[in-house]
Amino acid sequence: MAALTTAAAEEAQEREPGARAPWVAAALGCALLIALTASVCLGSTDVPLGDVWSSVARGISGGEPVPGTQDLIVWRLRVPRALLAAVVGAGLGLVGTAVQALVRNPLADPYLLGISSGASLGAVAAIVLGAGAGGLLGLGLSAAAFAGALASFALVWAMARRGGGFSPLRLVLAGVGIGQFLSGFTHYLVLQAGDDQQTHGVLFWLMGSLGGAQWSTLGVPAAAVALGLAALLARARGLDAVLMGDETAAGLGVDVTRLRRELFVVTSVLTGVLVSVSGAIGFVGLMVPHVCRMVVGGAHRVLLPVAALFGAVLLVVVDLVARTALPDQELPVGVVTALVGAPTLLYLLDRRLLERG
């Protein structure tokens, strides 16, 4: 009898969508390596694979780039940029997954809770008010954006905690309200922009870009994404439970209010870090969780790592497209995510609805 149950349990486990996750993760890992390699090879000038490897090997061993070769482009520009795309994509996939559970709404995205509006305001203020103001505060662009993110986080927190609940509706209302409020300031500042170059810089920021990638700016977002993944995985069962409803979660021994508060902090800080290095790149955080749920199911223990991997692959590829689609011009990455991502998501959801009848 016991043996029978074990066999049945094992068989059942094999058939379950979550059981595919190791294979999916392995495939995404390979895809990530290929995408990163392609992203480093291709661009305004294409670099042969062999040269890329030797440049990367030299860079890793700490050697100085050889002058007059493409070493410099590969090691100083393309590698950090490809890695930043992977880190930001992974982070957006994670935050999107967590925020959708936090507010129990599959249409939520990382920017719903107003954090990116604050970050954008900070960044735009730094650009428009100029190096003078930035220098005055001792802030770079990323730091200004992160300061803005923290400010909006504080405002949303103060609004959401009234009534003590951190209920999904309260969080969304506070996030949308504060977000709109801060966007008003941002738009005002854009109109005050001194010249075309400033306006261009602002627009690029608002639509998201990975152009600012450097080795020195990679550490903070990478650490934030790693810590965020750990913090969310530690709460994977709680995230599952709140999908069913707050009462169900309470009945399973989950302290729902505390969980929401913690999730709000984790997702806000991570969003703030991501937006401050890359601007608000749309659609990745909305699309990635959906696609991953369709493939590996909704249980967060497998969903979170898969969403991080898929987000990374997606953004590396999208950034490659953004750099190479037009001959002389780089597109903001957010434009490509929207142009490619929106139809993809609509197609997938439509097929899903048809299937359901």
Binding site: A2, P106, G245, T248, G251
Partner: protein, 275 residues
């Protein structure tokens, strides 16, 4: 017979300053099925919510197995009490298996995966509700009856001493109601549930507790509690209580034409004047 005794003592609950339930005393003995009945808004769900710790009592205590549940951690109390609230979940591509596996939550530390014992418990729980083999199906694509059985399996996977169910037969057709009640009966585990359908309650429950406007107005075996006088006074309906021709359970035959004399509800135009 299994499970622990539930004892609710002098329970009072307030929601945003308004007292919703007060002075409620009730007991469900080990292995007993206790039913909460009463009109809409009488406080049934509120009482149940304090047992699965969604709400905190304002005054009074809830004892499970002799222990005040507020002295337990949330996980400890969830190992004793499994709940089936009226929530239906949302569409997040959860498989049936993932939903049932949630029942293991109170036994798991952060980062802990599922071990072989968990997998066996989950499989047994699904088999126990007649849904072995449905693991991979999407929870949101199930029929109402299947969904309730999956949620019951999730509660069983919690391996609780006590089951608490809020209107588990709501929105189910008659066959699925009968099947679900049979599953509950077969558990023989201490069960506290609310039911709208008084005939189902009379058939299933060892003991009934009648709530009216937040207070307990009667407790006892169904046959003693469900009198025409109580049905008129609490529910505002005229009814005869007879023996069920097939099962011998008390059968309440409602008069669907006439409210009881002095019924609190407005009488529709053209209805027989009663006041």
């Amino acid at each position: 017979m299994g499970g622990m005794k539930i004892a609710i003592e002098d329970l009072e609950v307030s929601l945003s300053g308004r007292t919703v339930v007060s002075g409620v005393h009730l007991v469900a003995e080990e292995g007993e099925i206790a039913g909460l009945v009463g009109p809409n808004g009488s406080g049934k769900s509120t009482v149940l919510r304090t047992v699965y710790r969604y709400l905190r009592p304002h005054a009074g205590r809830v004892l499970v197995g002799g222990t005040d549940i507020t002295s337990l951690t949330a996980a400890e109390s969830a190992r004793r009490v499994a709940a089936l609230p009226q929530e239906r979940g949302s569409d997040f591509e959860l498989s049936v298996r993932a939903v049932v596996a949630m029942g293991r939550t109170p036994y798991k530390r952060a980062f802990a995966g599922e071990d072989r014992a968990d997998a066996e418990i989950v499989a047994a729980a699904l088999a126990g509700v007649g849904l072995a083999g449905a693991e991979k199906r999407r929870f949101s694509a199930l029929s109402g009856g299947e969904r309730q059985r999956v949620l019951l399996a999730r509660a069983l996977a919690q391996d609780p001493q006590v089951l608490v169910l809020d209107e588990p037969t709501n929105h189910l057709d008659v066959l699925h109601q009968v099947e679900l009640l049979a599953l509950l009966r077969a558990q023989r585990r201490t069960t506290l549930l609310s039911l709208h359908d008084l005939n189902a309650a009379a058939s299933l429950c060892d003991r009934l507790h009648v709530l009216h406007e937040g207070a307990l107005v009667a407790s006892g075996p169904p046959r003693e509690v469900l009198t025409p006088e109580l049905l008129a006074g609490v529910f505002g309906v005229r009814a005869a209580v007879v023996d069920h021709p097939l099962t011998g359970d008390p059968l309440i035959a409602f008069d669907h034409r006439t409210p009881a004399a002095g019924a609190p509800r407005a009488v529709a135009e053209g209805a027989t004047a009663t006041a």
